[in-house]
Symmetry: C2
Subunit: 213 residues, 2 copies
C-alpha cells in the first residue's frame, strides 16, 4: 500500500516539475538542484560559488531546510536573491515547494537558480523539482563507500563535487576507488574535487556552471 501511495505522490510531483521546467525555460533560467548529506558542505560551497561567479552569472538561490533560516541568511549576506523553504520536518524538497518559491523571484533577471535541497542522500534524489541538472556534494570525510551505498543520487547527478578534499590526508578515503565506483554507477558523470578551505576546484566548478547556462 505504501508503494502505491508513493507512486501517486511521485506522479503528481513529476507533473508539477514539468510545469516548473517549462516556466524556467521560458525565462531562460538554468536550474541546478544541489544535494548532499547533512554537513557535506553544501552551503559553504554555495557561498564560495556565488562569490566566484559574481559579475559573471546572475544567480539566485532557493534554500531548503527543515526548520531554520540559517542557510538563507548566509546567502542573503552576499546580496544574492534567496527564498527559504522550510519543510517543517520533511526530508526533501518537492516540485510544488520549488514552484511557490520560484514564483516569488524575479526570474527574468536570473540566469542561474541554485536550489539547495535538504541534507539527505536518499529522498531528494527521488523528487524532480524541475531542475535542468542535479549536482551532489560528497565530502571526503563521509567515506569512499557512499556512491555504492546510495547509488540513485549519484546516478542522477550530472556532476559530483568531492568536497573537503583538503581533509584527504586525515582520512582513509580512497580517491581512486570512489572515482571508479562513481564512473561505474554513472559513466558520464563529471567529478570535481573541491575545497572551500583552500579554494581548490572552485574555478572548475564555476566554469562548469558557466558552461550550462
Amino acid at each position: 500500500m505504501e508503494i502505491k501511495v508513493m507512486k501517486n505522490i511521485l506522479g503528481e510531483n513529476d507533473k508539477i516539475a514539468e510545469e516548473n521546467r517549462a516556466m524556467f525555460r521560458e525565462k531562460n533560467v538554468t536550474v541546478v538542484n544541489l544535494m548532499g548529506s547533512p554537513g557535506s558542505g553544501k552551503t559553504t560551497l554555495l557561498e564560495k560559488t556565488l562569490e566566484k561567479i559574481s559579475g559573471r552569472i546572475s544567480a539566485a538561490v532557493i534554500e531548503g531546510d527543515l526548520f531554520t533560516a540559517r542557510d538563507a541568511e548566509r546567502i542573503e549576506r552576499l546580496g544574492v536573491p534567496v527564498v527559504q523553504i522550510n519543510t517543517a520536518g520533511g526530508c526533501h524538497l518537492d516540485a510544488a515547494m520549488v514552484k511557490r518559491a520560484a514564483e516569488s523571484l524575479e526570474l527574468e533577471k536570473i540566469q542561474l537558480l541554485i536550489v539547495e535541497n535538504v541534507g539527505n542522500l536518499v529522498c531528494p534524489a527521488e523528487f524532480d523539482v524541475g531542475e535542468n541538472f542535479k549536482a551532489t556534494v560528497l565530502s571526503i570525510t563521509e567515506g569512499d563507500d557512499k556512491p555504492l551505498k546510495y547509488p540513485l543520487i549519484f546516478k542522477e547527478s550530472a556532476v559530483v563535487l568531492l568536497n573537503k578534499i583538503d581533509l584527504l590526508p586525515y582520512t582513509n578515503f580512497d580517491l581512486a576507488a570512489a572515482r571508479e565506483d562513481l564512473s561505474t554507477i554513472h559513466p558520464n558523470v563529471e567529478i570535481i574535487e573541491t575545497s572551500c578551505t583552500t579554494g581548490a576546484g572552485l574555478d572548475a566548478w564555476a566554469d562548469w556552471l558557466a558552461g550550462v547556462i
Copy 2:
C-alpha cells in the same frame, strides 16, 4: 493528503513497534536504534564498540542499508550475529522490517541488539522500530549547526556521540556551541565525544551501553 497518508503509515508502524518492544522485553533484549548521517561513522563505531564489549555483553546487530550488504559483512567478520535489511532505496527502517529481521535472530542468547539505521538525519527519527533507546552519531566534520537544523533526531536520542573528535583541529566546529544547542533541544541528553582513530570515548560509550542492558 500527503500528511494524512503519512499519519496512517506512522500509526501502523507504531503498532508493530509496540509488538517488537513486547517481544524484546520478553526475551530481555535491550535495543538501541543507532542513527546518523551517511558517513558519520556509524559502522566503524559499531565495529569498535563490538570489539570493546566482547565478552562483557552478548550483542547482535541489524544492519539497514539501501542496497549493499557491505556493512553487515564488516560486522560478520567480528563473529557477531548480524541480519542485513535492504530497503531497496527506502530512506529509513520501519518496525515491520526490524520485526522480520529480529525473528531470524536467537534473541534468548542476546542482551543487546543494535539496529544500525539507514544513513539519514531526517526520516529514521520518525519511525519507532521498537527500540528502548535511540542514539545518534554526529561527526565533527558535519558542522556544529546540525542539532538546530535537524532537531527531531537529537530530541529523541538518549545519547549523542560526537564522533571523529580527532578531526576537531582541522575544522571550524564549535564544540561549546554544539553542546549548548544539544542541551537546549534535549536537556537530559548524554553527550559522548568519540574517535575510532584514537579510541577516545569508546570506554565511556561501552559503559553507557552496559548501564542500559
